[in-house]
């Protein structure tokens, strides 16, 4: 290989003809990637980062096209290649590691043939033993046992599938690897493992790397240079150090500040400390009595008991990775999912054994915000249906005008313009707007308890803080107690009064966030914190240790007993 740049983009513009005219997805992009360098493309959805990568692959979706400019791959003009030449260039010179590792492998083919067909397509047929040797070598190089090749994709975990995709990407030693949000569907722990694998292997074969992403923290920990894209334009480009420490463009500054840090400044502004609504019952608002949930032979939640008094509004965070049992807890609390053992009591009344009137009362007082703002609105109705219907159902509406007024007030409170939003259909609103409407709905119904299950994980990063502060206001201004279910320790740190860390259905550490997240003591909490990529160069991933091995750490975590770090008024967690 020469010392020419791996990739040179000159004045690249990409456009999509639409009914309203031609949209320029990428505008006059100039960028050079040197050999062995890792360059991050960062921006929100629609910023043109994936489009640029696909243009390099010559795989733009119809009707997209390169309008002007040039793409040069180590001296080859990519745009001048014929279809067949381009086919041969893919994988052998540019490898693409896709975003949806979950679905990126052919479900009816074993892993090995999916590696082999890539080799055969470029180098022709060869001995099976030779193919086997190469696929085994590729799998081993990404830290997978060689026998993985004999499995079907559905037999692998998400992290393993993503590594298979990486193995596939490097199998022909390409000049350039393009990784499109390779870890977006993975847990933080797995994310760190996969990124480490990717970086090691890239350093080993010495290719260029484009890492596409939206998470400033992940970028800070993984790449050498950053290219910040907004609406198809390259707004800033420089080394990670330059950009993180002295961002010039306001958009870059926003991106950096939108990542909540443990410690650091809060994005919330507590002001009112409202009282909880008066209650008739002296029983706790919500009580878990040895609640356990099994799915077949798997125990999703081990017996757990707690009582939330509800007289002092509190935000209790339940933190864990997928499979920790946190979402199961949420659906049990809402009465959607009956516990296998134990009881859930709402003001002394068993949720599973309520009559119609009690059930309506329970629904009125326990509301929820779910993860997916796109699914929460019935596509058949205008969005105000979701606000109006429960308001009337719970007998809160005095008249049409009163309902309308309540809806408008609730919208105002979450920063939405009621005239613009209420009479629209769900598909006309963005995810952020919809999620705020759901928060407005909760506000309008003024429940005593709100269960917020990953409320911001599907919303663009720049809106997360706003929506979380809307939710925080529910407690702060309206005295609603909140159970905040999340995988994100940093937001839990800022929002909550009490944190429970869940691991495989057990509480492993619980207490005030400053202690649990600020100075974790349980090995699992430490593992989680270490896995978070901070947008801070002085704070290297996991303290920069190279002997980082999640398997041993997890094994250690399973042996360790739960750590209780202090209590908070109005919430008692039974110690096991």
């Amino acid at each position: 290989m020469s010392d020419k740049p791996v990739l040179t983009l000159r004045d690249l513009s990409i456009e999509f003809p639409t009914p309203k005219g031609v949209v320029q997805a990428v505008k006059n992009l100039d960028l050079t990637i040197q050999k062995g360098r890792r360059v991050g493309f960062i921006g929100e959805s629609g910023s043109g980062k994936t489009t640029t990568a696909l243009a390099v692959m010559q795989m733009l979706a119809e009707p997209g096209r390169v309008a002007s400019g040039s793409i040069d791959l180590v001296g080859t003009d990519v745009l001048a290649l014929t279809e067949e030449e381009m086919r041969k260039t893919r994988l052998s010179r540019i490898a693409y590691i896709p975003q949806g590792a979950m679905n990126s492998l052919n479900p009816v083919m074993r892993i090995e043939p999916q590696l082999w067909d890539g080799i055969i397509a470029h180098e022709g047929h060869m001995e099976r033993a030779e193919l086997k040797r190469r696929s085994d070598a590729a799998l081993t190089s990404v830290g997978l046992p060689a026998h993985t090749g004999e499995l079907f994709p559905h037999e692998l975990s998400g992290g393993m599938k993503q590594r298979v995709c990486i193995a596939l990407g490097i199998i022909l030693n390409p000049d350039l690897i393009i990784a499109d949000e390779p870890t977006s569907a993975l847990d933080v722990v797995t994310q760190r493992q996969v990124m480490q694998t990717l970086n090691d292997i890239q350093a080993q074969i010495g290719s260029g790397l484009i890492l596409i992403g939206h998470d400033m923290g992940l970028m800070a920990q993984s790449v050498d240079e950053l290219a910040v894209l907004k609406d198809g334009e390259l707004v800033e480009h420089g080394t990670v150090k330059q950009i993180i420490e002295a961002p010039k463009h306001p958009y870059t500054q926003d991106l950096i500040s939108s990542v909540p840090l443990v410690g650091g400044d809060s994005f919330l502004n507590p002001e009112r400390n409202a009282e909880a609504p008066k209650r008739d019952s002296s029983e706790p608002l919500l009580r878990f009595e040895k609640v356990r949930k099994d799915y077949g032979a798997v125990t999703a939640l081990h017996p757990m008991s707690f009582a939330l008094q509800g007289d002092t509004p509190q935000i209790i965070s339940i933190v864990g990775q997928s499979g920790s049992g946190k979402s199961t807890m949420g659906s049990i609390m809402l009465g959607f999912n009956p516990p296998s053992q134990g009881r859930v009591l709402f003001e002394g009344q068993d949720v599973a054994a309520m009559n119609a009137a009690q059930s309506l009362e329970f629904r009125k007082n326990v509301q929820a915000v779910f993860q997916d703002p796109y699914a929460c609105f019935n596509p058949f109705y205008r969005v105000n249906h979701a606000l109006k219907f429960p308001f009337k159902q719970f007998g809160l509406a005095q008249s049409e005008a009163h309902t309308q007024q309540a809806m408008e007030e609730a919208c105002d409170a979450v920063g939405l313009d009621p005239d613009l939003v209420l009479s629209r259909y769900p598909h006309q609103l963005s995810g952020g707007q919809r999620q705020r409407l759901i928060v407005a709905r909760a506000l309008m119904l003024s429940p005593k308890l709100l269960i917020a299950d990953e409320p911001v994980s599907m919303v663009d990063a720049s809106l997360r803080a706003t929506i979380l502060s809307n939710i925080y206001d529910l407690k702060d201004k309206y005295g609603i107690s909140i159970l905040y279910i999340t995988h994100d320790l940093a937001t839990a740190y800022h929002v909550s009064d009490y944190v429970m860390v869940l691991y495989k259905g057990h509480v492993v550490e619980a207490g005030p966030p400053k202690e649990v997240i600020g100075q974790p003591q349980h090995p699992y909490t430490q593992l989680l914190i270490d896995s978070i990529p901070w947008p801070d160069l002085d704070r290297a991933w996991g303290g920069g240790r190279s002997d980082w091995d999640p398997e041993t750490l997890e094994a250690e975590a399973e042996r360790a007993s739960a750590v209780y770090r202090g209590d908070v008024v109005g919430f008692e967690l039974a110690r096991v």
Binding site: P19, V22, G46, D231, Q367, L416, G431, Q433, S462
Partner: protein, 320 residues
């Protein structure tokens, strides 16, 4: 105003650059996304079926329906502009010719075509109602009820309706159109049941149904106000598919000489034509005209089905 940052908003902000002709055509195609129901296939299909219904309605007024009776006209006359084997030309009194029993073909199709369509529509209406009821019950109630309905639908879907009906009709002899429709309805509920069950099961997990539950909605409200409206395109599609199946079954029975014996239907006309050796005698209009009409009916149904597919699955629209 809250800050948007989605793809489409960014796109809308752009100013249109001047477009080529191909791009304008593309634009027109994409614009169809705005109102999916304005689908050319759908419109054509509905028009064809409406045409057949109109033929039945207007025909009764403008033409003499008494001509469907045996011997009301000369035998085996060809359509206007043709000659039969005996050298007789077609006459204006019987523009589509007459059959071997001396019945006027035009009157036969005016009476027969709506009859055939009626059986299909009635059978599917009943079948769909059963399907909606069972599908919702299975999806919603779950447990034993679900198992029973599911196995029953699986079992019934493998039994060819035509055979059971053949057994039935040869045992009972003549039936009315309505009874035939009822019998066919017993075999067209399985597909809608399976479809609705599957949809209900997936919708039950959907965010908006959970939201409705949180809003204290009753089961009835969730079924009929939240779920059913979203099922409409599927229900339509399934309905049209079962109309097709019903008509195929009905015509099949009629062509075998079963089904209503004294009521003119398209299938019965074909049965009589084959029995009388119309193929060898080159009396093509006797079986050809009902065949053509049935074909029109099925093409209409096919177009509606394709159109509905495109309405409910936007991905399909991109191709056309």
């Amino acid at each position: 105003m809250p800050n948007y940052s989605t793809d489409d908003n960014a796109a809308e902000a752009e100013t249109p650059v001047s477009m080529t002709r191909a791009e304008r055509r593309q634009a027109r195609r994409i614009r169809r996304f705005d109102n999916p129901w304005m689908n050319p296939k759908l419109i054509w299909g509905v028009s064809l079926l409406m045409g057949i219904i109109a033929l039945g309605l207007i025909g009764r007024v403008l033409w003499d329906p008494e001509l469907v009776f045996t011997g009301s006209a000369p035998l085996k006359l060809p359509p206007l502009g043709f000659e039969n084997l005996r050298g007789q030309p077609g006459v204006l009194d019987h523009p589509l010719g007459t059959d071997g029993g001396g019945r006027d073909m035009l009157a036969l199709i005016i009476i027969g075509a709506p009859n055939t369509l009626f059986v299909g529509l009635l059978a599917s209406l009943i079948g769909m109602s059963i399907g909606i009821f069972l599908g919702f019950s299975a999806g919603f109630l779950g447990g034993r009820i679900d198992d029973t309905i599911r196995v029953l639908a699986d079992v019934m879907i493998t039994i060819p309706p035509l055979l059971i009906l053949v057994v039935f009709q040869s045992a009972f002899g003549d039936v009315t159109l309505t009874i035939m429709a009822l019998l066919i309805a017993g075999f067209v509920w399985q597909s809608p049941t399976r479809l609705i069950r599957a949809q209900v099961l997936s919708m039950k997990q959907s965010g908006y149904v959970q939201m409705a539950q949180l809003s204290g909605a009753s089961t009835g409200h969730i079924m009929f106000k939240e779920m059913l409206p979203n099922l409409v395109p599927y229900l339509f599609g399934s309905f049209i598919a079962s109309v097709t199946t019903s008509i195929v079954t009905a015509v099949g029975l009629e062509v075998l000489g079963l089904g209503p014996q004294r009521i003119p239907t398209l299938g019965r006309t074909i049965y009589e034509a084959i029995n009388a050796g119309a193929l060898i005698q080159n009396l093509w209009w006797w079986w050809g005209i009902p065949t053509l009409l049935l074909a029109t009916m099925f093409i209409g149904l096919l177009l509606i089905n394709l159109g509905l597919d495109e309405v409910s699955n936007p991905r399909l629209r991109k191709l056309s």
